[in-house]
């Protein structure tokens, strides 16, 4: 699935990374707890979260993710967005709730990937 498909499905607006919407991504994870995201490393490329602070970007960066989808109408502050831009991440903002966003994307074929304790 392309990031632009995620954007359309979740009726999201793109906050940064407009030039990378054609990028293909294969799996995603969703959580408001960054420690849980960090606990389940694999190749998830998309992070769906309702948490907005710079550490969301740092977590995505540590995990080599390409795209963050903020749900529940949450929008990151300028500092968070600047960091995301610097890291070359795509940031989307959707008004959907997390459950709905996940359900839609899952049904379109964006799955959770393998959970791996490495």
């Amino acid at each position: 699935m392309k990031i632009i498909d995620i954007m359309n499905a979740t009726e999201a607006e793109v906050l940064t990374g407009e030039d990378q919407l054609e990028l293909e991504v294969y799996s995603a994870c969703a959580s408001d707890m960054m420690s849980d995201v960090l606990a389940f490393v694999k190749e998830q490329a998309v992070l769906i979260t309702g948490l907005v602070n710079p550490q969301v970007v740092r977590t995505a960066e540590m995990m080599d993710m390409q795209c963050i989808v903020f749900v529940r109408g949450k929008k990151p502050d300028a500092e968070t967005l600047t960091l995301a831009k610097k890291k070359g991440l795509v940031v989307l903002a959707s008004k959907l709730r997390m459950y709905t966003a996940c359900g839609l994307l899952f049904s379109m074929g964006l799955h959770g990937g393998t959970i791996n304790a490495e």
């Binding site: 849980d36 960090l38 606990a39």
Partner: protein
């Protein structure tokens, strides 16, 4: 430190949650540039990042010293925080003493130390209550 290694020292600012992780980021970029396998780079980055976050949320900051040698990445995280009374309990997944405001920031799920252990090859914790904590992490290359 070995003569053919790289040595880094960072001060981890305990007052600034937003900047937590910058040291780990620097190390991650360095390891990437050195051409190490992506899995090794990621394991190191996550283990150190969790440690950095821990120092910021529990100990008011500290120092991180990293040595990269041809065979391993060694990380020493040192703080003068409250210390860990029961290390075994603190290592347990899901156990956390982090206050609610830290959970609101997405951390304090009780996964930090167990993640550090999971992603490193060796981990050592020395801690004394009201003196501080020293964590040593080793990731083999």
């Amino acid at each position: 430190m070995q003569s053919d290694g790289l040595h880094f020292e960072f001060a981890v600012d305990g007052e600034n949650f937003a900047s937590a992780g910058t040291a780990s980021e620097t190390i991650k970029n360095t390891l990437k540039k050195l051409g190490l396998p992506p899995a090794t780079v990621r394991r190191t980055a996550i283990a150190m990042y969790e440690g950095e976050i821990n120092m910021v949320i529990h100990a008011g900051g500290g120092t991180a010293v990293v040595d990269i040698t041809p065979t391993a990445i060694e990380i020493e995280l040192k703080d003068e925080g409250p210390g860990i009374a029961d290390i075994e309990l603190a290592m347990r997944e899901g156990y956390s003493t982090a206050p609610e405001e830290i959970r609101m920031l997405g951390f304090g799920a009780g996964m930090g130390l167990s993640n550090m252990k999971k992603y490193s090859d060796e981990m050592k914790i020395e801690s004394e209550v009201s003196k501080g904590t020293r964590v040593l992490l080793k990731i083999n290359i």
